[in-house]
Amino acid sequence: MDRRKFLTAAAGGAGSLLLGGCGGSKDTVVIASSLPRTGIAQGQTESIVNGLKMALEESGGEVAGMKLRHQDMDDATAAQGGWDAAKEKDNAREAANDPNVMAFIGPYNSGAAENSMPILNEAGLVQISPACTSVQLTKKVPGDQSGKPDIFRKSGKVTFCRVCPNDFVQGPLSAVFAKEVLGAKRVYVLDDKELYGSGIAGLFIKKCGDLGIEVLGHDSIVASQQNFKTVIATIKGKNPDLLYFGGTTVTKGPQIAIDMKGEGLTCPLMVPDGCYEKSFVDAAGLDTVKAVPCYATVGGFDPSQLKGAGAEFVRKYKEKHGADPEAYAVYGYEAAKVVLEAIKKVGRKDREAIREAVLATKDFDKGALGKWSFDPDGDTTLKVLTVSKVEGWPFKPVRTVSE
């Protein structure tokens, strides 16, 4: 009967899953990364992995006499079309359970980080995110009842750190730039309702209050919506000096710019680092950014501003990939560099020692970002924000703001 055939096939499939997996030799060090490699954030994670792999290649495929391997895990599933909480947990456990894994780079989404952090913390495996900027992953927010970030640190040790400045840097400094450079007095704020976008928009609004900038309104869009003509027409009626959008390229940052041009709202548009990429200007079009002044912000520096090792990285990246690196590529590179340096220092496969070495990173200058350290919470001390004018790719840095 057919049924028997199916059962056999099913059993075979299940068996290979139960048994399958990877053996690892004793002298291999694995650096695992967990990023949404499929679905909508694919473009950015591609550049992160490019940067990461450059760092690994530079060390010649080995570190401290051990073979080096990169395990590229995907935390997105088809069923969700983007990052998936259960999948991110799986990846964290997979890394935690593989004795060869010495560091976990990722994730990309702050929401995903909340899922992997407790597992990696318990396993004592150091985690370096190249892109998560939500404040609560590392620091307690005044008035917050949820107990974050301590609930992610059950072991009492800090295992999560990030090489990108958090939203406390980006949101508020964007407001400072808006006031000082653009002279904005009345702003309207939109966000994409995602953890990242609404978080950064909230911090922007808060700082506006402190600086005496009037916030005319705040609304959320849905990224699957086709156009925002109606939303922009409404905003135009309020006549703002600046529109701030907390969101990313794939959550329709470019569409906002397009509809601003279409509806004749020509005040500047300001977007955070989720839009700091080539595909933002590709999707918005040069005609759009000519009509609507667009400013994109990125924590740290624009690749073109990097000096020394950073400039070298940019040159090599261009050589290899035939294009200027995206802002995120630098963070992928930096995260891998920090890890490799720590493993080199420790010289053996000892997660706890490597964790300590990573978190003790001080005045690190072997990467591309210049000199910086980790603070006790795992945040970078690089608290500067670069604002660039979007006129094509690469973006033109206008000013670097610091606290």
Binding site: L17, K53, H70, Q80, W83, D84
Partner: protein
């Protein structure tokens, strides 16, 4: 007779023993836990589509209602602080009630209109979850959700000492508790549905699905039967949602309760064998297992032997939707009754097709 007679119990025994076997991969247990949860969800949907014949395209809504009920009842910043048993019961009841309340007014719609209404209801629920930040924390998701103890089982029970032989078994995190909880619930749901199928209600559903008019003529009340199916199905979906929230210790991304999940579940049910419990179980384990487990394993193998990175078409995960879609198309073409068809449904498809008039 029943195709599930021997292999289903055998599968359960195998899964229960799996963590103790030497072949156990450390991470599979947690991945399987989530698969069990989705299997409960699919079995719930099967009650609605397979037993009662109502095409429901919004089952994810009840999954979400279940998860968020547990969230509200257990997270520390709400004053309820209930245990798992209370929360899961409440989640089941809340989802069942939501199912009845949203279906009752639209029962008189015929097939495809009803499908669209259920789809719409699913979307409304999703946006309510996303937008009512004061209750649901919006896109942040509610966490942490403490699993809370089932009486007699400590939440962090460490079963690492339970080894058949030294060197066997795996390193455990939290999962002995959650793994066996989910597997146990799945087993109970299977038993419950088996008995339900054989009950008066189950036979009435068969009559309803085969011919609504004839069923009504024999004195059955179609509306009441449909509502019963929705109540059971939505309740099971709510229970699955409760387990999901507990297994994740949070509700995760609200996008996890969207239309894509509803549709994937419909595919699991139909691919496995509409109306047939063991088939639905197998369909879900294979389809969701492919999405969540197999692509990872394959990608890792490729990475180990070929190297990592490269554009998305060099990775299995980049082809995921393509493979998924092709499997659906081929299955429907060559085996539309599903992998393990229900006997009646199978006859229907393989006898001389009678054209609907």
């Amino acid at each position: 007779m029943s195709p599930g007679r021997y292999w289903v119990p055998a599968l359960f025994v195998l899964l229960a023993a799996y963590p103790f076997l030497p072949v156990a991969e450390p991470n599979r247990g947690e991945q399987f836990t989530v698969l069990f949860v989705y299997a409960v969800l699919a079995l719930g949907l099967n009650v609605v589509i397979g037993y009662a014949g109502l095409l429901h395209l919004g089952i994810a809504a009840f999954f979400g209602i279940g998860a968020y009920t547990v969230g509200i009842l257990t997270v520390p910043y709400f004053p309820f602080g209930q245990s798992f048993l209370v929360a899961a019961t409440a989640a089941t009841l809340a989802a069942a009630a939501a199912g009845v309340a949203t279906t009752a007014p639209v029962l008189r719609l015929r097939g495809d209109y009803l499908a669209l209404v259920t789809l719409g209801f699913g979307l409304i629920t999703l946006y309510a979850i996303r937008n009512l930040d004061a209750i649901t924390e919006g896109t942040k998701g509610m966490n942490p959700i403490g699993a809370g103890p089932v009486p007699g089982v400590a939440e962090d029970a460490d079963l690492s000492g339970w080894r058949l032989f030294p060197g066997w078994g795996v390193r455990w995190y939290r999962y002995p508790y959650l793994y066996f909880l989910a597997l146990g619930v799945l087993g109970l749901v299977m038993l419950f549905l088996r008995n339900l199928e054989r009950s008066r209600l189950g036979r009435a559903w068969v009559a309803l699905r085969e011919d609504e008019l004839a069923a009504a003529c024999t004195g059955l009340n179609p509306a009441r039967l449909k509502l019963a199916a929705i109540a059971v199905g939505a309740g099971l979906a709510g229970l699955a949602g409760a387990l999901y929230a507990i297994a994740l210790q949070g509700t995760g991304n609200p996008q996890g309760f969207d239309f894509t999940l509803s549709m994937t579940m419909v595919c699991c049910v139909i691919l496995g064998g509409l109306g047939n419990r063991p088939g639905v179980l197998l369909g879900t384990l294979l389809l969701m297992g492919f999405d969540r487990v197999a692509t990872n394993v394959l990608d890792n193998l490729i990475q180990e032997h070929v190297g990592s990175g490269g554009p998305s078409y060099t990775k299995v995960s980049g082809w995921k939707l393509m493979i998924f879609g092709t499997v659906l198309i081929l299955m429907m073409r060559y085996r539309p009754e599903g992998m393990l068809p229900e006997a009646r449904h199978r006859r229907e498809l393989h006898e001389e097709p009678t054209k609907p008039v």
